[in-house]
Symmetry: C2
Subunit: 259 residues, 2 copies
């Protein structure tokens, strides 16, 4: 595999840092190529602004159109171009981050906001009567896989089907489906650690073993079975799921899973 | 009302900028007090790091514990203290932002990550057999209300109950429930504009009228009816919703709505 690890934690000596380090050593020992985007170490600029699109940015700024023009003319900033190149190089992407306020830290959201430009990650493909662009299973990054490795402060029961925070699979749906699957990346089931503030050094060997097992079986892991957009499951252009396709009683985000 | 507007868009001449300006003038004309946190104009630091917690930050950094200690000793950075003071001053908070990748822009997530510190927004209250801290309806910001005013690129049908992006109320649940209701803020139904890239100057008067109507009726608008944590609906400490409380067939995030 060619694996890109996108890592977002301010403390190298954190559990997130250890999991990132272990992923690098485990994958490299198994003969895989690994590149790391350590967003804190890179002092990643988290905020989209006109400076991202050079002197030709329009005024007033149009984020989508300006990012697409800069992508197509090769004039995005070097930091963003480097991340796009890494994404094109990789066949597998691992995101290592703590769950902060039920989603990714701002520095990682800013990586998405800036790297996933128009014409690269969205605004790709044609619109016809049977096709609403290339997205949700098609797109620039189709054929690649990604895994979220996420540390969570609360206990697992709070994130269960009836848990007060909401089911973890629903909390992660906007990332799995809306960010990854949208430009074509298949999302693998996440690697989740709960109640991490109570984890001690004595717990780490078991965690490390579980993480190594996930890492070494990535190629044979089935992705989350999201429905592809342009292959009959959705009305076009309303993009409503056709009646009768869902198992009885399934609603909400779960509608967008096959079978 | 005492209204804080937290505004996150890089272009003052954008639709988001116009909605923010209209909110200020409409509320002030009606006799309300208004303060604005214009995150781009303030060059808001979006990224949590050790610099947030001063020379006494622990090494290795512990984000929760360090933020709580800095909060309690009054040594958070002045930018964060100013935002906490504004939140304590306000009775109503409006968040004005574009939906980027199905959630808020990084600069606004970074406002949450840095301002909602331990002991201020979480880690508040005692844990007993009948109480799991003060959160989800209780907490530092209890009694306040907030409204999300969000611009969306796609059409409304894509965000409907069967729409491919997922229902907009589920996409916003991690913000309404996980960020706002967690420290006690009641979330009002959002003000949403769809397909905003197609909006022209000719459309703005109707939009402005609808927005003014929402603004001038905020005080009489019923909040989203989330269930409070510590008042019998949830088992403690598992925080699973007690069996039988939900309307038939309701699952997922919708479980956490009353009645």
């Amino acid at each position: 595999m060619k694996t890109l690890i996108v890592y977002a934690h301010p403390e190298p000596k954190s559990l997130n840092g250890s999991l990132k380090d272990l992923a690098v050593s485990t994958l490299e020992s198994a003969g895989h190529e690994v590149r790391v985007s350590d967003l804190y170490a890179m002092k990643w600029k988290a905020v989209v602004d006109a400076a991202d699109y050079g002197p030709e940015a329009s005024s007033p700024l149009k984020v989508a159109l300006d990012s697409g023009r800069a992508f197509e003319t090769g004039t995005l900033t070097p930091d963003v171009r480097a991340e796009q190149e890494k994404l094109l190089w990789a066949d597998t992407i691992i995101f290592q981050f703590p769950l902060w306020w039920y989603t990714m830290p701002a520095i990682l959201k800013g990586w998405v906001d800036r790297v996933f430009t128009y014409r690269f990650a969205y605004g790709v493909g044609e619109h016809t009567e049977t096709k609403y662009g290339e997205r949700y299973g098609e797109g620039t990054l189709a054929g690649k896989k990604a895994l979220l490795s996420v540390t969570v402060g609360g206990p697992e029961s709070h994130y269960a089907a009836r848990g007060i925070n909401g089911p973890i699979e629903d909390l992660l749906f906007p990332i799995h489906h809306g960010i990854l699957y949208y430009p074509g990346i298949e999302a693998l089931p996440p690697f989740l650690l709960y109640r991490v503030d109570r984890i001690t050094d004595a717990d780490f060997p078991d965690i490390a073993k579980a993480w190594e097992e996930r890492l070494l079986t990535l190629e044979s892991t089935e992705p989350i079975a999201f429905r592809r957009q342009n292959f009959g499951d959705y009305e076009i252009p309303s993009l409503q799921l056709r009646e009768g396709l869902e198992p009885a009683g399934r609603t909400g985000f779960g509608l967008h899973l096959r079978g």
